[in-house]
């Protein structure tokens, strides 16, 4: 990185700006080397790795069950799907069955966590554009989700709730009604949030037609999840590579439509997330309605876990397709585990998309891609 900086400094006309790793709007420890001419950027070169905790390496050092708490740290903003993907990967590798009730609880916790993660994503986008109140406003809702998840699994951020073969605990008495009550409360809040910021003229002007990513680019750069759908690709792992009990649920997949600008601009990425909120709420409602018919069993604890071979599973996390590729060699530990995360690829496109933007736009671009530092570096 240092030789890059020196090479650019030498050219004279440009200014090299070092943004991060401790910059307020890089959402964690990410660094950008920005070549600017005044306010206009020529290029922003991402420098990642500041939050590299070698989680894939840790997976090789502990047992399959013992690695579960570490998966929370893959993406601590949306930890449930990371739990889920590891549990599913090992279950696929070792041919384990999961009780139906556990599948429901997994999906409910995933979707609740997706809502809380999108709360951060949308609130942080607004904050990076300069509107601070929507952030605190929507964080109040995230607080409720955190409390609900705390009632479910005792933790607010790194849940360690899913288990290989099920989930850690059944839902507590009365939790169902609390979730339903909160859903009733949250639906008008979403409409209010749209009134507050989504359709705000200034906000739209800042995000519309900003950093437009075409469908081909999005696929080639490996964008996933809301970022991909915002570019007009109608693909959702939950619907198209179904897992868990998602086939039993009815939900729409919001796709970017370019309502205020062109398809694939920053506002579309924001808007797709705002629509996913609504879908998550309907999914939670359906799950809570269906869960009553299931057996009480929520965890089939595996006796002996020494699988051999390799398996890859995909899960729709808040930042899109989170995959886990796990290789077993017949021991108690994974021989190799790999997490493929949405933020890593989203960071890869920033250099390309930053050309010609202004410094303030870079902040909006990062926020609209919903990049989370731990998910990049793992």
């Amino acid at each position: 990185m240092s030789e890059l900086i020196l090479a650019y400094e030498a050219s004279g006309e440009e200014m090299t700006l070092n943004m991060g790793p401790q910059h307020p709007s890089t959402h964690g420890v990410i660094r950008f080397i920005i070549r600017t001419d005044g306010e206009v950027m020529h290029e922003a070169i991402p420098d990642v790795g500041f939050l590299h905790r070698a989680i894939e390496h840790i997976a090789e050092k502990c047992t399959y069950e013992g690695f579960m708490p570490y998966t929370d740290r893959v993406d601590y903003v949306c930890a449930m799907p990371a739990n889920h993907v590891w549990a599913m990967a090992v279950e696929k590798l070792a041919d384990l069955e999961v009780p139906e009730r556990a599948e429901y609880l997994r999906v409910i916790s995933d979707e609740l966590n997706r809502i809380s993660s999108h709360c951060i994503a949308l609130g942080a986008t607004a904050m990076d554009i300069g509107a601070i109140t929507p952030f605190t406003y929507i964080l109040r809702e995230r607080e409720y989700v955190n409390e609900l998840l705390e009632m479910l699994c005792g933790a607010r951020l790194t849940y360690n709730y899913h288990r290989i073969g099920g989930v850690g605990w059944d839902m507590p008495a009365g939790w169902r009604d609390k979730v339903l009550r909160w859903c009733d409360h949250f639906e008008p809040v979403m409409a209010e949030f749209d009134r507050l910021i989504t359709n705000n003229e200034l906000f739209v002007r800042r995000l519309a037609n900003l950093a437009v990513i075409s469908a081909d680019e999005a696929m080639s750069y490996g964008l996933v999840g809301p970022n991909l759908r915002a570019s007009g690709v109608d693909f959702d792992v939950r619907r198209d590579v179904p897992y868990s009990i998602y086939p039993k649920l009815k939900f729409d997949v919001p796709v970017g439509r370019g309502l205020v600008g062109s398809v694939g601009d920053a506002w579309d990425r924001y808007w797709v997330r705002a629509q996913e909120w609504r879908q998550s709420v309907t999914m939670i409602r359906q799950c809570l309605a269906q869960i009553d018919g299931t057996d009480k069993e929520f965890w089939k604890q595996p006796k002996k876990l020494k699988p051999k071979g390799d398996a890859m599973v995909r899960v729709e996390a808040a930042r899109g397709d989170m995959s886990c590729y796990v290789v077993g060699d017949g021991g108690t530990n994974a021989y190799r585990a790999r997490f493929r995360t949405g933020s890593f690829d989203a960071m890869g496109i920033i250099r390309e998309k930053s050309r010609g933007l202004m410094v303030a736009d870079l902040v909006a671009l990062i926020a609209s891609l919903d990049v989370v530092a731990p998910e990049i570096d793992r």
Binding site: F135, T136, R140, E147, A360
Partner: protein, 515 residues
């Protein structure tokens, strides 16, 4: 002795046409104008204020003009008292006397230079050279004017944090002092105790000087702000020009701070600020000019005095052009004060903290201090120009003279109007996102400046073409539509949202019991 035009009934032929200003203290000059060229330039001259029996030494500067000096002799004649009377003015030159028309009596105010008087008193009774006491008196006066400013800034900071807290469903500061209202004191003390760090690579002199310049630029504006009829440091004849010329001093300070910090983030912040303040100075000035045209004066007190106490007598509702001018001025004032949505120079999500990134401790604290006092200044300027200042309905000048507490009520009214503008500024900050730098420039050059000029020209046409009765009807209609109509709609929205707040926040979504 020839007595020409000594005013026994023949008003048209009165020799002295005008005298101004008539509020005088030591060191000032009064200009007396004759109806025709009658003075002998160079001959010994004096000006008599008849009702007071005061003679001022003067000199004829042209055949039609005499300048009278209010000097120490007047001070002695006053003896520390304040003399005021309705009087005719007489000029005496070479045995000749010319008087003004006795029916147009000038309201002459002669008052001692209180500071000088005070300093003289000290020097007479206490040891030490006179200039030392003069300096001490000046310092004391400065302290009295500037002393409350940190308090104002502090209270506005706490208020802003409380407002922002309630808007974001938080509590805001509530620990220090009653309900957290002394939080600013704790914050200020903390900042004072911090180490004052000057980066090694920074230019130390500019870096040190920058905050003081910001301080200076802002606090000079307090000189001309008319808080009430009598509560004003100096009612300069060029008050508005003075206001417009001292506020941009802040931009010099911001550029100095941004440049000398030797940090690229500070530099970007400083550059943005320079571009922004200089650009928005234009529409702000033109919008103010619209009002100055209407009042026919640049003196801040005259502008306030020419408005009435009732809302439809304010310049805000005077005619459509002033209404637009108000919003142009308000937008520009936000931009000049670096407030959201124009807070680009210190956009914390982009530039870390902008031009003050490298500052710490007391030096840093001056920048926010200036920023928050500036909100109060924005409010005060808006109140004075558009919202009728300290004018109270049904109170005329004579009543104001008689009861000191009416003046105090005027002051309270001024502060109330000021604070309501401050609240709007705070409210906007916590609601709106931020412009991008090119959008901000577009707004200024493509919309604000042309519309400001349209307002100015339209205002001239309005004054020229529209008869007074129609003007009155339009102002009342404007008040009815924009004041009552919009205000009522707004209040209904507030009521609705307050109920929503009740539902959303106070009734807990998870059904827990809230205290």
């Amino acid at each position: 002795m020839l007595v020409a035009g000594c005013g026994a009934g023949d008003g048209e032929t009165a020799a002295i046409r005008d005298a101004r200003p008539t509020r005088l203290q030591r060191g000032e000059r009064m200009l007396v104008e004759a109806s025709s060229p009658i003075f002998d330039v160079g001959a010994p001259t004096s000006v008599l204020i008849d009702a007071l029996g005061v003679t001022l030494p003067a000199r004829a500067v042209a055949a039609g003009r005499v300048v009278a000096d209010v000097d120490a002799s007047v001070e002695r004649a006053l003896g520390g008292r304040h003399l005021a009377a309705q009087s005719t003015i007489t000029v005496v030159q070479s045995e000749q006397r010319w008087s003004s028309d006795p029916r147009t009596r000038f309201a002459v105010d002669l008052f001692p230079h209180s500071l000088q008087h005070l300093a003289n008193g000290w020097a007479a009774h206490l040891p030490g050279p006179a200039w030392l006491w003069w300096a001490a008196a000046l310092l004391m006066a400065a302290a009295i004017v500037a002393g409350p400013l940190p308090v104002i800034a502090g209270l506005i900071v706490v208020w802003e944090r409380k407002v922002s807290g309630y808007m974001g469903s938080r509590l805001g500061p509530n620990r220090v002092g009653p309900n957290g209202w002394l939080q600013w004191l704790a914050d200020g003390l903390k900042l004072l105790m911090k180490e004052d760090i000057i980066p090694t690579e920074a230019d130390p002199h500019l870096f040190r000087a920058a905050p003081y310049l910001a301080f200076l630029g802002l606090f000079l504006t307090f000189v001309v702000l008319p808080f009430s009829r009598y509560l004003i440091v100096s009612d300069l004849d060029i008050g508005l020009l003075f206001l417009l010329s001292v506020t941009p001093l802040v931009v010099v300070s911001i550029i100095m701070g941004g440049w000398s910090s030797n940090s690229k983030w500070s530099l970007l912040g400083g550059m943005r600020s320079a571009a922004q303040i200089i650009s928005y100075e234009l529409p702000a000035s033109v919008a103010l000019l619209t009002v100055a045209t209407l009042a026919g004066s640049l003196s801040t007190q005259s502008i306030v005095a020419s408005q009435g106490g009732w809302p439809w007598q304010w310049y805000l509702f005077h005619d459509p052009f002033t209404l637009v001018a108000f919003f142009i001025w308000f937008g520009s004032a936000l931009a000049e004060g670096n407030r959201t949505p124009f807070d680009l120079p210190e956009a914390e999500s982009e530039l870390v903290s902008g031009y003050n990134t490298e500052y710490s401790g007391f030096r840093f604290s001056l920048f926010p201090l200036v920023e928050w006092v500036n909100i109060a200044v924005i409010g005060a300027v808006g109140t004075m120009l558009f919202l009728g200042g300290w004018r109270i309905p049904l109170v005329d000048a004579a009543l104001l003279e008689r009861h000191w507490w009416i003046d105090l009520a005027g002051f309270a009214l001024f502060i109330a109007k000021d604070l309501s503008i401050v609240f709007v500024v705070i409210w906007i900050r916590w609601t709106l996102p931020r412009f991008r730098v090119d959008q901000m420039m577009n707004l200024c050059w493509k919309y604000f400046i042309p519309f400001a000029f349209i307002c100015f020209v339209g205002e001239l046409a309005w004054l020229w073409l529209v008869p007074p009765l129609a003007q009155t009807i339009v102002s009342i209609a404007g008040f009815a539509i924009f004041g009552v109509g919009f205000g009522g709609w707004f209040l209904s929205r507030v009521r609705y949202n307050a109920r929503r707040y009740q539902d959303l926040v106070l009734n807990d979504a998870l059904g827990r019991v809230n205290s």
